[in-house]
Symmetry: C2
Subunit: 228 residues, 2 copies
């Protein structure tokens, strides 16, 4: 079973067909999670989330009370907390609801500390085991994560670029069969290898690493040559 | 001397008064750097950059030729490169132009691999020495960086929240005198401590670390309770 989580980032970086995608997901009986203001946005899109998570301090009382009436499973987080709302969401998705895959929407834009939680929480050992089943999507980017091992990177239609970020200490990171290959890169700190591409007529290439964690960032320019 | 660098991120996450700020900067004889499409945006804002840097592959020929006619110092980067455009910009700002402080605009939104370069390049040893003289600003956030030592975190008007990201292996990170304090936090991987605040009637608190690098992310919600 697939799960979608809408978190509370600004709506202007959403996928343009987010309402269509989430409506179809609901019809397919995929799980829908709303995190904090994301729960309100879901209801406003006409989708009642299966689970709402947060301290809901970005909601006015009347909006919270509407959510409390309609959503069956609400998890109240503590603002003075060991776990962030996003970390509670991930554990609920995979441990309580046993989803296979999680798509996170609304995670970029707005507060950068919030985005960085969604990007970096996968390094946290209790969360790390779920990293390879996750995708973070906005209107320019699709991010997936890789733990040590050998991995096939598949081309995604409409995303001409792909960049890799080593998110922590890294041993022997290799990129093989892409436009720009990389051999046995090791480092004690994060680094970004941006603007890679698939070779012409090739739909995949390989990466591998011995230690660390990689975020693969597929991206596109909405309007590459735009002027002001 | 202060330097401003406009990089090529989407214009909708710019500070709303960016034109006013950059026009005043130019009048004050601050340095203005345009990175790739940022150089074109500057000219369109009526500001001729002192330096333009990039491979300029996001510019059409006629726009590049206009920049080549007006900008005195152009640094052409190599797309197959050891240094990113942003890293070349930082070294030009501090080593060739001897600026005291650098403000980076247009770094967020759009391609997340590009944003992560601007966030993480300060870990790279040749760039690290300049980190504490830099600020990255967009319409929601102001990010500053700290190397090991003891640092005073000053309140910024209009930014109610502050989060801290440990960007690499960290030893003994402390937050003292804030709403949520932290004692001797050490970790081998990056982590985010978000949504901290200044105590009432307090304009500063202290952080310290023995090893690692911290990004302090001041942020605000444009419209905290907004509905769709």
């Amino acid at each position: 079973m697939k799960a979608y989580a809408l978190v509370g980032g600004p709506t202007d970086l959403w996928l343009h067909d987010i309402k269509k995608q989430l409506t179809e997901a609901k019809q397919n009986n995929d799980l829908i999670f709303g995190v904090d203001r994301g729960a309100l946005f879901l209801e406003e899109l006409g989708i009642i989330p299966d689970v709402a998570i947060g301290d809901f301090d970005s909601l006015q009382a009347k909006d919270l009370s509407r959510i409390e009436k309609t959503v069956k499973d609400i998890r109240y987080s503590n603002p003075i907390k060991d776990w962030t709302d996003s970390e509670i969401m991930v554990q609920t998705v995979f441990k309580d609801y046993l989803a296979d895959k999680l798509i996170i929407l609304g995670a970029s834009g707005g507060r950068i500390d919030h985005f960085l939680i969604n990007l970096l929480m996968w390094l946290n050992p209790p969360i790390n085991q779920f990293a390879q089943r996750v995708e973070i999507i906005d209107n320019h980017n699709s991010i997936v994560f890789f733990n040590p091992g050998v991995h096939i990177i598949k081309k995604k239609p409409d995303y001409p670029y792909i960049g890799f970020a080593t998110l922590s200490e890294t041993e022997d990171f290799n990129i093989s069969g892409a436009r720009y290959d990389l051999n046995d890169y090791s480092s004690t700190y994060p680094r970004v290898f941006s603007s890679n591409e698939f070779l012409p007529n090739s739909d995949y290439f390989e990466i591998s690493l011995k230690k660390g964690m990689i975020a693969a960032i597929y991206s596109k320019d909405i309007n590459r040559f735009h002027n002001l």
